[in-house]
Amino acid sequence: MSAFVIRRLPRTLLVLLGVTFVSFGMLFLTGDPAYLMANENSSQEQLQAFRHRMGFDRPWPIQYLDFMSRAVRGDFGTSLRQGQPAFRLVMERVPATLELAVAAMAIAIAVAVPVGLISATYRNSLYDRASMLLALVGQSVPVFWLGIMLILVFAVQLRWLPVSGTGDLRHLVLPAVALSTYSMARNARMIRSAMLEVLGREYMRTAYAKGLGRLTIILKHGFRNALIPVITIIGLDFGVLLGGAIVTETIFAWPGAGRLTVLAINGKDFPIVLASVTLLASIFIAINLLLDVIYGFLDPRIRHA
């Protein structure tokens, strides 16, 4: 097991390196932040001094190397606008984003698995057609619109749930549902088609021939074999959820890392953008590494390959 993880490690580091390189390059292309820091009282000399102090007057490969050499030691610099260590600012927000993403994922799986399984089992039934139509709608609806509709219906009209912000579990419901919808719909469709493929396999016929109960066959022989593509999708989904969290966090005034990053991009707060991109990418990579390990449990062939 640990050998497997160690084998994956270099690739993981390479991905991280690529992520920081690309985001650094793109930030650099959008111009230096000094202009946005200015107000009516700042002179050209002050801007120049600011640039020099922050090191923005150096060639960008040098800036990148400097950034990387500090970043590997956990120092992403000081936020240009908030005057605090960028890494700490991002770390403070990560739990809220993870809370939202994990809740959304839980909802998505809890709904998608039974829906997909039943749809596949009763293929072409009215239930199958209705739920797949709903899934199509769920996959197409923009999070932004959905979030506002959820607020209008459940918070403003029915008054069942709070509009936005944090607090008890009730605050988590609407943003998590809004964020989960896309994954929920996509996973239901994925599970259905993965199951359909498995259901047509010969070992399923063998299982029936052995005289096993239908439920045992579907869950033990069918679902377990359908899980591999589903797990892959769920791993990728986590990236979608972290990305979607940006919109959801904005609509529901949720204090997560996504919102921080967007504001930092608009305000050209380079240290925060780089810290949060690196951190979110690391989380994403870690989760996919974890899923790779889980594959091994589900399918011993992968472990031994």
Binding site: G31, N41, G83, V163, S164
Partner: protein, 501 residues
């Protein structure tokens, strides 16, 4: 022997006293829905109106400003006078303490001013060049003199920016700590700040002035305006800022909500680059003013709440006799012909994206108006950072650009915006009479002379200035009716002025 009545009476008195003690002078909780969170609570590093506003409850100034009257009132200074042309002397309020126990005195004033210009601190709210500071002199613990190199007519305006800090705490605490934990003399202090979620203020029990009526004030950043409106409708917040005109109508239908439309100090106008053809010609600039149909813009985009600007200077300093340009396309065409452009010309209009209320829409509407008189306008939307760089720093607008500048609430500063010495004088307009009169305004000795010069300068801008006046942007607040509060003209939210019904 105690009689039962006496016992009962004593009990009632004790109960009443106990209730009074626990209720305290203030009670209640008010939630304010803003659109962004503060970046920092270090008063010398803040940049947004909302941060300034929040901090005015925590840190205080030597003077207090009332924008409705255009008048300065005592705050931490009880009185002030000018000693000669170059010196301002302030008598300070005695017995005031910062919430960490440090006393407020002349040293604190000196320390604060010096901190803002300390290159090691590198504040972005420096005690400004306009004042030409020479030095700050502590005369005695409660008298301080601010001495300038040139006469500083707008000293009090600058002091309304300068928030006073405790020297010991500030000199012994790292910057990153100061950004999170403010210590001031104000009516409120910060008890909790969860970034991007809420800042909670609580009434300062030792405040030197009248105690605020509301004990707890929560500022919540809610970036999405539909969410802010929903929070207001459900009572989640008591005040919501930046309501768009179309949503204001919906809100008015809610029996619990009051909508306040406050004309702010932000004057939105089309800047005109005046150092090269065709906009260097006064007649062309006037033609553009006559060619703008503000009534249509007002009705279709601003729900009819706008008023076209007549003068660039905000009340009460604006010249009331100046009239806004009427819509007169015939006159506009005639002026263009007289200027040598009978067939009009092509020009670019640069507008920052998502910066001013309906900014892009107003620009498109204006462009359509101007096409009708022959000026073919190409509207180019620019991201704010790009806009700032091109217009302010490089001072290189293509031709026309949309801008909204917040007023400093005095005519000297307002009129300086058009002066070529102003650091962002992107319009490149040089009018000999204006350049001659402006310094006289700054040095004017009497109120009458000041007003006469100010009105004359306003007239010059109106008649031949480098701009097409649009409007004074209106700030729309939604306020829960349980709250008694009139928003300030300068957009600062000051909870000590709020009361619950």
């Amino acid at each position: 022997m105690l009689r039962p009545q006496m016992l009962l009476g004593t009990l009632v008195v004790i109960l009443c006293l106990a209730m009074l003690a626990s209720a305290g002078p203030a009670g209640g909780r008010v939630v304010v829905g803003l659109n962004i969170d503060a970046n920092t609570l270090d008063p010398h590093f803040v940049s947004s109106t909302q941060e300034y506003g929040m901090l005015k409850s925590i840190y205080e100034h030597l003077v207090w400003f009332d924008p409705a009257k255009g008048e300065f009132q005592p705050m931490l200074a009880t009185s002030w006078k000018r000693v000669g042309l170059l010196t301002w002397e302030f008598r300070l309020r005695q017995g005031v303490r910062f919430t960490n126990g440090e006393p407020f005195d002349a040293e604190a004033v000196k320390y604060t001013i010096e901190r803002t210009i300390d290159p090691k601190v590198n504040s972005n709210n420096r005690f400004p060049g306009a004042v030409n500071l020479d030095r700050v002199k502590v005369v005695d613990p409660y008298t301080v003199r601010i001495i300038t190199k040139r006469p500083a007519a707008t000293m009090l305006t600058q002091l309304w920016i300068l928030q006073l800090v405790p020297p010991k705490y500030f000199s012994s605490t790292p910057l990153s700590e100061l950004a999170r934990k403010p210590v001031g003399t104000g009516p409120y202090k910060v008890v909790e700040w969860v970034k991007d979620d809420h800042i909670t203020l609580e009434a300062n029990p030792d405040y030197w002035g009248p105690k605020p009526a509301i004990k707890t004030v929560v500022f919540r950043p809610i970036p999405e305006v539909s969410t802010r409106v929903a929070e207001l409708q459900t009572g989640g917040v008591d005040v919501a800022i930046d309501i768009p005109p179309d949503q204001a109508k919906t809100l008015e239908a809610n029996p619990n909500v009051q909508v306040e439309r406050i004309p702010s100090g932000r004057r939105v106008f089309f800047g005109l680059r005046s150092d090269r053809p065709p906009l260097d010609n006064v007649k062309v600039r006037q033609a553009l003013n006559y060619g703008l149909n503000f009534d249509v813009i007002n009705q279709s985009l601003l729900s009819g709440m706008g008023q076209r600007l007549a003068t660039y200077v905000v009340p009460p300093f604006g010249d009331p006799s100046l009239q806004p340009y009427p819509y007169d396309p015939t006159k506009a065409k005639q002026l263009l012909a007289e200027a040598g452009y009978p067939n009009g010309f092509d020009i670019t209009l640069e507008v920052p994206v998502a910066r001013y209320l309906k900014g892009e829409d107003i620009s498109q509407a204006a462009a359509a108006d101007w096409v009708k008189v022959g000026v073919r306008v190409k509207v180019v939307p620019l991201e704010w950072g790009v806009f700032v760089k091109k217009i302010f720093q490089e001072r290189n607008p293509e031709g026309i650009y949309l801008l909204g500048l917040a007023s400093a609430w005095n005519d000297i500063d307002d009129l300086y915006d058009m002066h070529p010495d102003f650091v962002f004088a992107e319009e490149k307009w040089r009018d000999p009479e204006y350049l001659d009169l402006y310094p006289k305004l700054v040095l004017s000795a009497t109120k009458e002379q000041h007003q006469k010069l100010s009105y004359k300068l306003q007239e010059i801008i109106h008649d031949r200035g480098p701009m097409v006046m649009v409007w004074r942007q209106v700030q729309i607040y939604g306020v829960n009716k349980r709250l008694v509060w009139t928003p300030r003209l300068d957009d600062y939210i000051y909870p000590a002025a709020m009361q619950l019904k």
